[in-house]
């Protein structure tokens, strides 16, 4: 044992110096083992072949063999050697980034040669697992039809949020927004590295837009989720990796098609929405005049009652795969949903979006699918072309302002404020028009096995997310109401997103089994964006604002894309020594912004740029009159950023059935492109002569000159300004210890304890440009000062399929807290001094040229003295108040170059803590402290004998799934009576059970149809909303009994339970 300790210590030292990691392509695994004879002597020269493929290896002098780059799946391996019986092992399972150990014992051939066939059994404890990782195979996917999507499978694994957010171990609750104009609380999917066939699915460029995976479950060969310390190959992600490997076509044609029928019916609790108590006396179906009321503007009858519960729904999914000649194969998979919404919506059908946490999108014409072609030109090469796609067109209901534009926006009940009052808005209509949305990913992967021990892969990919408007109004009109002044009727709301984000990526990896116990891998990846993103919103006819990012510091370059480059190089090594496996690696991430940005976010508030303008006013050289020297470029290209991330994992077998692992690693994650480059402007009530808020007639010529577009905008104090000179990557450090134990037969358990500290989390501070006379302004700039830590347990207990049943119980418990340190709790005040005021690059007002553009008004000497003195007073004031806080002179800042100006940044540490200890903000947001799920699967065999033959037939080839889920309640902050302290408790838990049963016919035949029934929320349980002080004090989950509305009308919250009532769907599937 002591020898092992010395060895371990040596390995630690070596690793600390070198940096190595687990070494596999992101989409293949490895088979390794030893070929021996019946005496245990090695058999060099023995051949081991993957049956049906051209992959194989020859045993070396010690009988060892290794087969690299094996696609995940189940195989037969054949070992042979002249003079010995051939041994075939069936059911050999290969997983991504894992080693499948497989030894062969060959017997000397007797006169009657025979082939020995053995059923291999995948070990329940992976001995080379150095980090917490869970894998779902195609078989498990097939056995659990109750789980409908890849996202749902992933969400059931320990450590992954079951709400479909792709949040792993409590990742990133702080900075998440959904793509709406005003931030709503939500979860960001940005923290996870998602790979499809080894190709990264990009994110982090759409203002924390939802993560798109897009692969239907029928096309999945294997999925794995690494919640622990991912190897150095994966980066720019703080919270683990999700890998999806799609199926290859194979040598025979196979297909899978399924239709699920959803009967009509009410899909929510409480009364029919037209009879909801919350309407009070505003529904007047007994009043003929009210019923017949016509909107004078549109001529339509307003109060129309819709039978919204009468719509049936269906989901159709299918896949087809097969060979193309002898060297190629294909897979294509498509899914289309026509599902009824829960409440009256713009359309009668749509789909539930995986990437938006299951949100309903009113888009009947939706499609999602994937496809690939795999070509094997030679035994050593493989080419895979793939496509993943989602496309739909919908009425604009996703981008709306929950507080303002929601009034009369769209009829779906999404806004708690305006929802019920929107009920009589028209069908197939939205105040914001429509939008079309598309996500697509195209990729090419090339794998070349150079030698039996070395191979490389190259992946080239292009992905794009595009969203564009259709018939979006130009500006917002006033909300309109019916004659009673209660229900909203048609209006226009100018609120939309226009975005196109294209990413080009190249990834190359070289893997080599250098020695028997040493698998090295090195590689690189580079992603280049061409991305632009515009969010426009107009709360009223007079108020509009826009946030955007693009490739230019000058505001008028909105439209030209930003093209940053991000990438990494890494090296990693997997060492195996006397049963101990060490994965170690190091990764270098880099980032480069390729366009110029203002040297500091608050500088948008400099008076020279007070107004958005379509022409350059002053950005450094070339902008000053002759005779003056420019003091430097105020817009510069940010420097390269580099970050080093070491990773280390160790697997230590305890017994043949138990292994422990330890891993630690640092991760960095670049912030979202929107947070990096955004600018936010607002018109503050200024309008053009025609009432259009998007221009001003500056030159009073009555013509909308091009130079006058958007010239009534100035920086939005509530908006976010990107600050790539200041912003840094977010960081995370993760440590975990885990144990896996195959305690008996097919049963295994795993337990992991983890700790993760997230530092440098993105936040926006309160930045200001302090200009005397009110010509400055506030803006929220980037500040990496949010902190978060999580610790917890992940536990899994399961049994693989044997004796006709299997189960998996996953339980996850976490504690998290967040806080601030550093600049979040302070502001930065930036200001010029008198010398800058006196320079030719500074002015306070603009005049209007004949073309409508703004031109500087040169300051008089008197103005220079007056405002210069005022700026000096500002500087002295800050010096006095914040004497102990940092002061920077912009010319000395390392992030900007060749700047020689008299402008300063003073950190205002108002609030106390600056770079001190983290101030505890409290438990992490709305994070669940615990969640658990149980999947139970029963597969009856084909030959069950049970009573009469009809019954025997009926219970044969049955698959039954039970899925139970539980999530702890959301946080309730309240103050108990008589207590001075606030406390935090948890609201009601959310638990439900789903069940499905499937009967397969002709199970052993070529075509296998099956009929299934699935029941969601079998026991029709309500997941109570609860929460709040009333719940804690009196157990109340509705209005108090003395509430007048409750007394007169009933419970207003009768529809607000989380979980939908029981739903029974029927389906038919054909597999061939």
């Amino acid at each position: 044992m002591s020898r092992r300790l010395y060895i371990l210590a040596g390995i630690f030292t070596l690793v600390a110096a070198l940096g190595l990691t687990d070494a596999f392509a992101g989409s293949t695994g490895k088979i390794t083992g030893r070929v021996v004879d019946e005496r245990g002597e090695s058999l060099p020269g023995a051949n081991v072949v993957v049956k049906g493929s051209r992959q194989g290896a020859t045993a070396d002098a010690e009988g060892h063999y290794v087969i690299l780059a094996v696609d995940p799946g189940t195989y037969e391996l054949v070992a042979s050697l002249i003079g010995y019986n051939t041994v075939t092992k069936q059911g050999v399972q290969v997983s991504v980034d894992a080693t499948t150990p497989l030894d062969f014992d060959l017997q000397e051939r007797t006169i009657e040669a025979e082939e020995i066939v053995v059923q291999a059994e995948a070990p329940l404890v992976e001995r080379d697992k150095t980090s917490t990782k869970y894998t779902v195979s195609a078989d498990e996917i097939r056995q659990a039809p109750i789980i409908r999507t890849t996202s749902e499978f992933i969400s059931l694994l320990p450590g992954v949020d079951m709400g479909g957010t792709f949040s792993v171990r409590g990742s990133d609750y702080a900075a998440a927004v959904q793509p709406v104009i005003w931030a709503t609380s939500g979860y960001s999917s940005a923290d996870v590295y998602v790979i499809i066939d080894g190709v990264r699915v990009p994110r982090g460029d759409g203002n924390s837009a939802g993560l798109f995976t897009g692969v239907n479950k029928s096309a999945v060969q294997q999925m794995s989720v690494e919640t622990g310390v991912a190897p150095a190959e994966y980066g720019d992600a703080k919270a683990g990796s999700i890998s999806i490997v799609t199926r290859d076509g194979g040598k025979e044609y196979h297909g899978w098609t399924e239709i699920t029928y959803e009967p009509a019916g009410k899909k929510h609790w409480g009364a029919d929405i037209y009879d909801a108590p919350a309407h009070k006396d505003n529904m007047k179906w007994g009043d003929p005049e009210w019923v017949r009321e016509i909107d004078p503007q549109t001529g339509r009858v307003i109060h129309v009652r819709e039978n919204y519960t009468g719509y049936h729904g269906a989901v159709l999914e299918g896949s087809l795969m097969g060979p193309i000649g002898s060297k190629a194969s294909f897979v294509v998979s498509q899914k289309h949903e026509r599902r009824a919404p829960v409440y009256p919506d713009a359309e009668n059908h749509g789909f539930y979006s995986d990437s938006q946490r299951g949100r309903f999108i009113n888009a009947p014409g939706n499609i999602q699918g994937s496809g690939n072609i795999t070509i094997r030109p030679s035994p050593n090469t493989k080419l895979k072309l793939g496509l993943v796609l989602q496309h739909f067109t919908a009425y604009n209901g996703e981008v709306n302002n929950r507080n303002y534009g929601a009034q009369g926006f769209i009829r779906s009940n999404r806004s708690s404020r305006a929802g019920l009052r929107n009920l009589f808005l028209p069908k197939q209509w939205s105040a914001g028009g429509r939008y079309k949305f598309q996500e697509d990913l195209e990729y090419l992967t090339f794998t070349h096995t150079i030698s039996p021990r070395t191979f490389y892969e190259v992946r080239i990919a292009r992905s794009q997310t595009s969203q564009d408007t259709i018939e979006a109004p130009a500006f917002t009109t006033q909300p309109r109401l019916d004659e009673d002044g209660w229900f909203y009727v048609d209006r226009d709301v100018a609120m939309w997103i226009d975005s196109q984000r294209t990413r080009w990526s190249v990834k190359g990896d070289l893997s080599s089994q250098i020695t028997k116990g040493n698998l090295m891998k090195t590689g690189f990846e580079v992603i280049r964006w061409d991305a632009r993103f515009v969010q426009y919103g107009s709360r009223s006819a007079a108020d509009h604002w826009v946030s955007f990012y693009s490739g230019g510091d000058e505001p008028w370059r909105n439209g030209s894309p930003a093209s940053p480059i991000r990438g990494a190089i890494y090296v990693q090594d997997k060492m195996e020594f006397e049963g101990i496996v060490v994965n170690a690696g190091v990764r270098l991430d880099f980032e480069k912004t390729t366009h110029e940005e203002l040297i500091s976010a608050p500088w948008l508030g400099m008076p020279m740029w007070y107004w958005y303008s379509t022409r350059s006013l002053a950005y450094g050289e070339g902008s000053v009159p002759s005779g003056f020297e420019a003091s430097g470029k105020f817009a510069q290209t940010p420097p390269w950023r580099f970050h080093l991330s070491p990773r280390l994992g160790i697997s230590h077998p305890i017994t043949d059935r138990m292994a422990m692992h330890y891993s630690i690693g640092q991760f960095v994650q670049w912030i979202d492109l929107f947070q990096m480059y955004a600018k936010a402007y607002r018109n503050y009530g200024l309008l053009g002569t025609d009432g259009d808020p998007n221009w001003q007639d500056l030159n009073k010529n009555g013509v909308r000159d091009p130079a006058e577009e958007w010239t009534n905008l100035r920086p939005n104090a509530s908006g976010i300004a990107g600050d790539p000179h200041e912003a840094r990557a977010e960081k995370s450090m993760t440590f975990e210890v885990g144990v896996d134990w195959n305690f008996v037969a097919d049963y295994a358990a795993s337990l992991t304890v983890f700790y993760r500290a997230d530092t440098n989390q993105y936040s926006s501070d309160g930045s200001s440009m302090s200009i005397a006379g009110g010509r400055g302004g506030a803006i929220r700039g980037a500040a990496n000062s949010y902190l978060q830590w999580n610790k917890g347990l992940e536990m899994a207990l399961g049994k693989r399929m044997s004796n006709y049943f299997s189960f998996r119980l996953a339980w996850y418990l976490q504690w998290g807290t967040r806080g601030w340190a550093g600049r979040q709790n302070s502001s930065r005040w930036e200001y010029p001094d008198s010398n800058f005021v006196a320079s030719a690059e500074y002015w306070r007002f603009t005049d209007v040229a004949s073309d409508g553009s703004r031109v500087p008004v040169v300051m008089t000497q008197s103005d220079i003295e007056k405002f210069g003195r005022s700026q000096e007073n500002i500087a002295r004031s800050f010096n006095r108040r914040y004497a102990n806080d940092d002061l920077w002179f912009f010319g000395q800042m390392p992030e900007v170059q060749d700047l020689d100006i008299n402008a300063y940044r003073r950190m205002n540490s108002r609030g106390g803590v600056r770079y001190g200890p983290m101030r505890n903000y409290g438990a992490v947001g709305a994070s669940r402290t615990s969640q658990a799920n149980l999947q139970f699967v029963v597969n009856t065999p084909s030959d069950v004998k049970f009573g009469p033959s009809f019954l025997s037939w009926l219970v044969s080839d049955l698959n039954a799934n039970l899925l139970w889920r539980l999530r702890s309640g959301s946080r309730v902050n309240w103050t108990p009576p008589g207590s001075p302290n606030r406390r935090t408790d948890r609201g009601p838990v959310d638990a439900s059970t789903d069940f499905s049963m499937e009967k397969t016919f002709n199970a052993s035949g070529r075509v296998r149809p099956s009929f299934f029934i699935e029941i969601r929320n079998v026991f029709n349980d309500k997941a109570d909303t609860g929460g709040g002080q009333n719940y804690m004090r009196w157990g109340l989950q509705m209005s108090p009994p003395d509430n007048s509305d409750f007394i007169n009308y009933g419970d207003f919250g009768d529809r607000s339970y989380f979980r939908a009532p029981r739903r029974t769907n029927l389906g038919f599937r054909v597999v061939f």
Binding site: K945, G1035, D1042
Partner: protein
Amino acid sequence: MNKKIWVTFLTCAFLLAAISMGEAQESGRKWGVGTFLSLNAPMGRLGDQFSPSSKFGMSWQYMLNKKLYLEMEYHRSEFNHGKLEEQTFTWSVDGKDYLSPEASTQMNFDGGAVNLLIFHQGAPSLKGGAFAYYFQVGGGYYHYKVERRNFIFPGQRQEPLDPTLVLQPQIDSKTALTLNAGFGIQAFPIDRIALDLRARYNVLMGEVRPMWDWGIENKTFPMMLLDIGAGVKFYFWKE
């Protein structure tokens, strides 16, 4: 009996029976039916609200092998007049304690479970005089309903307190996944009939809401009960 429990129970029984009996008829496996009566004691926070009560049920068991029996059971248990009925609250307006004279609390369970009886030293021979002990683990779904009615609303602001203004009925009703574990002994006074004595701890993934003003400061989750009981089992088998 709760319909949902019956449906679930029968479906599970159907499936498991289909699997196991397919083999049983080949090899003469033993099966039996039984009934039992237990003392059912709420534990933890649930025990602060309800006193022990009785539980009765029936079961069907089937021999999987020489050490394992599969058992399916249904049971019902009712708890009336919970302790909360006698609990007062302090009204914040006058600082006095008040009892809700019409308050009622009750709780009932309808449970179905599938259990595994592990006879550590082998299953009994089913002959008179045989004796064996076992460990038992199982799981299932228990439907529970906890009702609290007619508790005076403490949030009133006007004096005097109106005793007729009561909280809406508070009903926690769910069908909760339940795990249980315990041990027992089976003794056969005569052939094929066994006396079964068992102690078992049940953990339900269900909850009962808090009522801080009445001293229930936190919600009760999970719900836990200990049952100790005796039953009779009748065994049959095909020779």
